[in-house]
Symmetry: C2
């Protein structure tokens, strides 16, 4: 599984303050913690703290001063990405495009130029899809356009768009069904990713819902997640699901081995 | 979800002793505990403690003296079932047939006569299947034969045959794939069931593996499980997966509500 650490996001107050006050230590601390928890990528998101490219670049630099983990640049504006992506020492994951033609035409050249990867949210001009079929249709548009720009399936992370279970319960099984079908677009398939914590928005049993939905998504082909990599029960469930999918070799102490990596 | 309580099985020493000593209280205690934990069926298995129909009938009677939960008669011998099934006050679940023609010809008339249900293990003369395709092929044989005897899809519980993750790791994803395809045989579909604890045989993290695999199976259509209904974390994961599949209406206190039922 590809784990994308969600914590360096200005939606969290400590990160917002760090950006406003240019407090690099707060950024570095979360970079270190998430890297130690075996994050594959560290997501970096300015949120509403700033709209200046130099602030996004500064965040990336702070992370890279502390760890050599891959960066997920969580921004969808070409003007921002054109400055931030070259700052990344290794090809980053861009988070994200939609299936909107104009957006893809702006972002895919940046992905191609830097050998980067990109998350493709399966929404279009009409907004978020309401069923599995629309999700698959939009995924198809993203794949087709990516091929035009010479991108390989491995550079595309399809995101079926997770909705809150509490408010749009019927969407959860549509997301599973869509993810399952995303696997059929190519061989090898694209990556399949989600922003996990949305599923448990405003619920009482958030962590239980997060980890249960994660394993159900993995059973339908998901191989990447933007999530709380510090949640040990979530990671244990993910590791177990990886064994079930035969992606890792079974060992009695598979959880202990992962936490000591 | 249909929960089948696994505990009244002579594979457990206390149950074996209870059968040998005709200690009805030990049977009743486990019947009560599992019924209180919301088991839909209580499985009753003689194991190697006895091969006498009257002992199986006695076990069923002990359970029925204590609770009015449905019975799963865990035996595959027609001579035993012909005596035990009529003892059940409500139509039981027979556990189980295979896809072997002769076996189905013996057992399906008993199912039909009593309006019972039956678990169909997707194995044949050649033994346990090694891949998803063979599981689906054997499931097809079971469904076709059941239709000949006038059984409805709701009377059939297809079991994709769970193998130990530790020793046959590649079988786990084959089981998921097969379960997914079992859904396509009819509309409404058959039930899909498994003997869950086999997945974690001889592993260090048994309960984690059980509950993770259960939710992954539910994501692929499983709606019944023979399992430890006393395992609260397992049941919480199952309830959460049921919400994801939109089988139960979301409520903040869905776990608390279930445990108070």
């Amino acid at each position: 599984m590809i784990l994308i650490g969600e914590r360096i996001n200005a939606g969290f107050k400590d990160i917002k303050n760090a950006i406003v006050n240019k407090d690099g230590d707060a950024i570095k601390e979360w970079a270190r913690k998430q890297a130690d928890a075996n994050a594959t990528y560290i997501d970096v998101n300015l949120g509403t703290a700033s709209n200046k490219p130099e602030d996004l670049c500064w965040m990336i630099e702070m992370v890279q001063e502390e760890v050599d983990t891959l960066i997920s640049v969580d921004n969808n504006k070409p003007s921002m990405l054109k400055e931030a992506v070259p700052v990344c020492k290794k090809p980053p994951l861009i988070n994200s495009t939609t299936a909107v033609e104009e957006k893809m035409n702006e972002l895919f050249p940046i992905v191609a130029e830097h050998g980067a990867s990109i998350i493709g949210l399966v929404m279009d001009e009409a907004g978020s899809p309401k069923d599995a079929d629309k999700r698959v249709e939009n995924a198809g548009k993203i794949i087709a356009k990516a091929m035009e720009f010479g991108l390989s399936p491995e550079q595309i992370f399809l995101d079926p768009i997770v909705m809150p279970l509490k408010f749009m319960q019927e969407q959860a099984s549509a997301v599973l069904k869509a993810a399952n079908q995303f696997q059929l677009f190519s061989d090898p398939p694209c990556h399949i990713v989600c922003g996990l914590s949305n599923i448990s928005n405003d619920t009482k049993h958030q962590k239980l819902i997060n980890r249960t939905f994660l394993t159900m998504l993995i059973a339908n082909g998901l191989d990447a997640a933007i999530c709380d990599v510090m949640d040990k029960e979530l990671v244990s469930a993910m590791l177990t699901a990886d064994l079930v999918m035969n992606r890792q070799i079974y060992a009695d102490s598979y959880i202990e081995a992962f936490s000591k990596k």
